[in-house]
Symmetry: D2
Subunit: 347 residues, 4 copies
């Protein structure tokens, strides 16, 4: 393939005329926009250590009162994506949010969708459309696009959770905004969706009488996920990932529209090598310790650390503990890629 022409090879007057007309010649940038055989990836494999982030987050609590912060969040910024990129991976916003006892985030809704995955602390809660959802370590709470939600903290110690948002996509498309609302009336059935949707294969009968709800289940308690991982482990051959996807029980589809969420268990001493995928992902360690090898780069991790995985990457995940399982929470952009028609499983 011979080299393409560069921008410098064009006469200055021509370049000026193009610029005045708000057009660009494609060919000098063609190969960057459309490389051969594999995307030009800028995102890098990165590990964020909780032992570094936790003190920084607590210090933010001291430095900045909640009125000046609104959300006290440190955003994981993938250094390959440029300075100040609010992206851990191309399509994934990850923040660590601190909420102190008695603090409160007033009722609002926004066009991006968010989930909250609890890292530590007791007494936090989120109210979504009137349903009050308790938050315990490892719980996943949905606050989807357009749904009213507010947060609070009735406990005694700092609560820290991980926010995962589809903000990069919504923002690039210039569709991100937020609306504030009156405080919600809280129904007297806290956490009711938990009792409605218990067992795979069983739905409230009236769910069949109406169109499927977009978000019938708003909290996925870690205790239940952990148990289900152990069940699944019993019928999964060694070396194959024990992995559960968080889905809408009324449709079996991913629980959120753009980002996908799943929980992974690596059995003691086990190494798994998922197929190479066109998606990018973020892994968060719920329990245990191990190593990720991503495109040849090795990153060690332990509890509450977070790791970025670029698109089209070769990945191996190893549990280095020979006696205990390790559990990971995974965020990926597979729902987006599948819906938009370019999801691929390579290998």
């Amino acid at each position: 393939m011979s080299g393409l022409g560069t921008i410098d090879e064009l006469p200055p007057d021509y370049r000026q005329a193009l610029s005045a007309s708000n057009v660009l010649p494609l060919w000098p940038s063609l190969r960057a926009a459309l490389p051969y055989d594999k995307p030009a990836r800028r995102a890098r494999p990165v590990a964020w250590r909780y032992r570094d982030l936790r003190p920084a987050l607590l210090r933010a609590g001291e430095l900045t009162p909640i009125e000046k912060a609104e959300r006290r969040v440190l955003v994981l910024s993938n250094p390959g994506l440029g300075p100040d990129a609010m992206r851990a991976a191309p399509a994934i916003f990850i923040g660590l949010q601190l909420i102190l006892p008695g603090e409160f985030a007033p009722n609002h809704r926004h066009s991006p969708s968010a989930v909250r995955f609890v890292i530590e602390g007791k007494g936090g809660y989120t109210v979504v459309q009137g349903e009050k959802l308790p938050m315990e370590k490892g719980d996943l709470i949905l606050t989807p696009s357009g749904l009213w939600h507010q947060h609070g903290h009735e406990g005694k110690e700092p609560v820290i959770w991980l926010d995962a948002l589809d903000l990069p996509t919504i923002n690039t498309l210039e569709a991100s905004y937020c609306v504030e609302g009156e405080p919600q009336a809280i129904r007297n059935e806290p956490d009711a969706s938990q009792t409605r949707f218990r067992r795979a294969g069983l739905l409230p009968y009236q769910a069949l009488e109406t169109a499927p709800a977009r978000y019938p289940l708003l909290r996925y308690p870690w205790r239940e996920v952990r148990e289900a991982l152990h069940s699944l482990s019993g019928v999964t051959p060694t070396g194959k990932a024990v992995q559960l996807a968080y889905v809408n029980p009324e449709t079996g589809a991913e629980c959120m529209p753009i980002l996908g969420f799943s929980a992974l268990m690596l059995r003691p001493g086990e190494t798994v090598a998922p197929p190479r995928r066109s998606t990018s992902a973020v892994l968060h360690v719920v329990e245990g310790e191990g190593e990720a090898e991503i495109d040849g780069e090795t990153l060690a991790w332990s509890e509450s650390d977070t790791i970025a995985v670029p698109t089209h990457a070769d990945v191996r995940l190893a549990n280095r503990n020979p006696r205990k399982p390790t559990y990971l929470f995974q965020v990926d952009d597979a729902p987006l890629q599948k819906k938009l028609g370019f999801y691929e499983v390579l290998n």
Copy 2:
């Protein structure tokens, strides 16, 4: 509306000519085929008492060796649908099947779909596509259209289960047939789908990577259903049915293509009046006792009894025990009616 012409009003030669041409005049039968405002129902509310059927079924075991019966089944025959109608309700075949210790039903598959709901006995099992499924009281086992299945009995007492089939529809459409096959190779993961699909909202990750399975879950254990009914009860107002539908966990759709299955709990002393529906149904009592009032007719029931409910019927179900809940298993033809576009919830 004046009366329509009758067949007798037509000249005999004309009637003969029509008959010779294989045609019928519509108008003498029009009102029967298309009555005003409500279907002309022939099916009647009926109760079948287990205390009558059980001895008859055991006697069948004595009278007819399994080689002469192939399936030792008594078919519930709704007297309104004509003599020898193998239909408990217009679209629903219900049989009570006896299987004695050591008996075996060889591998086969058929175009109708069947489910088995266990009434009594231990040690029965069904093998579906290589997965060996234990059968305990109240368990629901799917043997869908086209899937290989065989039954056996490794226990010591008679096993009796209820068969529900969509045979009336398949048979009317002249599409019912059966194929016999070699004995299945049984996989060494008995009841594996139970461990794969545990919790509402969690699916094995690979379920998202492939087209949804049509029948990923083949057994719905009663123990789990009963627990889930009690959970649901906590968020269901008194007087509203506590009812769970059996669904495909990968899609949230009814678990079988033509007939629908659900479990109902009536709390102590509770009466529920579901809306009038265009569907017909069969109710089977798993535990407890009570009364059904169907289009003004009252039918009492106790454990293991079975009741037919015609289409478009007014129904009230009452638990007459002030201290214990009662549990019903319901079969209806809602999936068929919804897919075919004439399902209605009336009043």
Copy 3:
């Protein structure tokens, strides 16, 4: 396979007890209900000649005033399905309807779905939900389940059309009924859906902004179908059926919920042998002449004749005219069988 026990082998007292309990032993009827390898078909290949039916229909017009007939229809009755069976094939009702100048069928709707396919005459029309649809030879008019419709005739000669209904299925399920209504207000956009939906691949933009309409297109003019068959013919190898299905343009799904409709063209001298299918069908000749060989039985046909094809049948269709194409209109129960999960293409 040894013979199963018969009903006569059971002791009389036992048979009496079963009967009193409203149950039947399955085994004497098992093989009839569930035969090996292929359905037990009662429907037979039949041809109805228009030269016989037309005079009979016109005589019905003389014998029975419209007030005594409400619909002046001769129903094609497949002799294999029993005397007085209002079924041309197991799931298909076919009637030939006569409407005389000035006659009028008042506004009504019913749970079965109907289509009208015009055989002869000018000036007939149907109004569906306020849209007045002209009816010319070969046009297909939909009057789906639950939609208001009324018919009329503003011409000077008898109009005869073919009615195809899913009545057998609805009736067997005891869900068939009819409601009469006030005369419809006719919108001043006659046949408007024709102008909205012209070209494959183009939809009114607002169709994308709302849920797909169930019946956006109510008339399929024969002139357009015939032209499209000729186009399709250009890219269809000889010996392969040139066949167009009538679909909902907003979804691409069959235009009606239970029965399927399509138009077939056999090129001059051509013979086609469609695959054996689990469906039954009715063929109506729009133009031309030829022969059908169905399970070895040969039936000749010419214009406006109608032929029944049983389920699972071997079919060959031959155009015996070496110079002109022939056109057939086909009704089948494929949508029903697909939705209910037992549709099969065999061999």
Copy 4:
């Protein structure tokens, strides 16, 4: 709402520590990422005049031989989106491509999807998966993600077409790449999909026997679209847009996965004001002249001009010619927004 803390208010050592840990504080950027009530839009209403672009494109043909350009394309760059942005609107890449007689673009496929809309010239063609598609003014040709395609030119004058790609989204997600292939074997049925899919509501029967094709129709000839617009015009009230969407005839869904395409007709002298939408769009003038008022800014246009419309914009389109209709081709990102769950029709 009090102001949030700024980055400068944080102690330098803290900022340094954050930076070293690859994290950013959210609060200084929160309002920019998530503004109140309406997105922060950078894209601007822009008009590109064909009278400026055409000479520039032809000069590119002189300056740069095809071997140095591979694709001779000028990219419309919305000045609000930053220098060198290859985006006409946030999610939409628009290029004007010149192909000279005898030139050839070899066989390739890529993860972005593209369409080609012909502006001028005769003799161009595209081969997609072996089907050779002629290209005439106004024709829309699909070259979807992953499908092999090659272009050529058998005429005598320059051919210019408009490329619309979903490249911005694919590129942001780091999933854009291209694969080159051997020249395609061209089937001897040029433009065959045109003859298979003619009329709305009619599909080849075999389309019902298989899963819907993702891209059954590859060319949408302008002549057909124009005729269909005139038909639609007859049932569209004045002041309401006469607008046809390009869809997949087998599903009724948008013809491409991320971007949506439609054709608009403004009747002589007519002004239409579509509802405000969350989407961005590009309008290209096929015939006629008029004005667009976008968020209060007025842009005049005439044949072959192109206009960018930001998200959430107020738009009025006016045909200034009192005697002739004008026709616009519209590209928007509605399919993407709908699939991802944040599409909105506002006010």
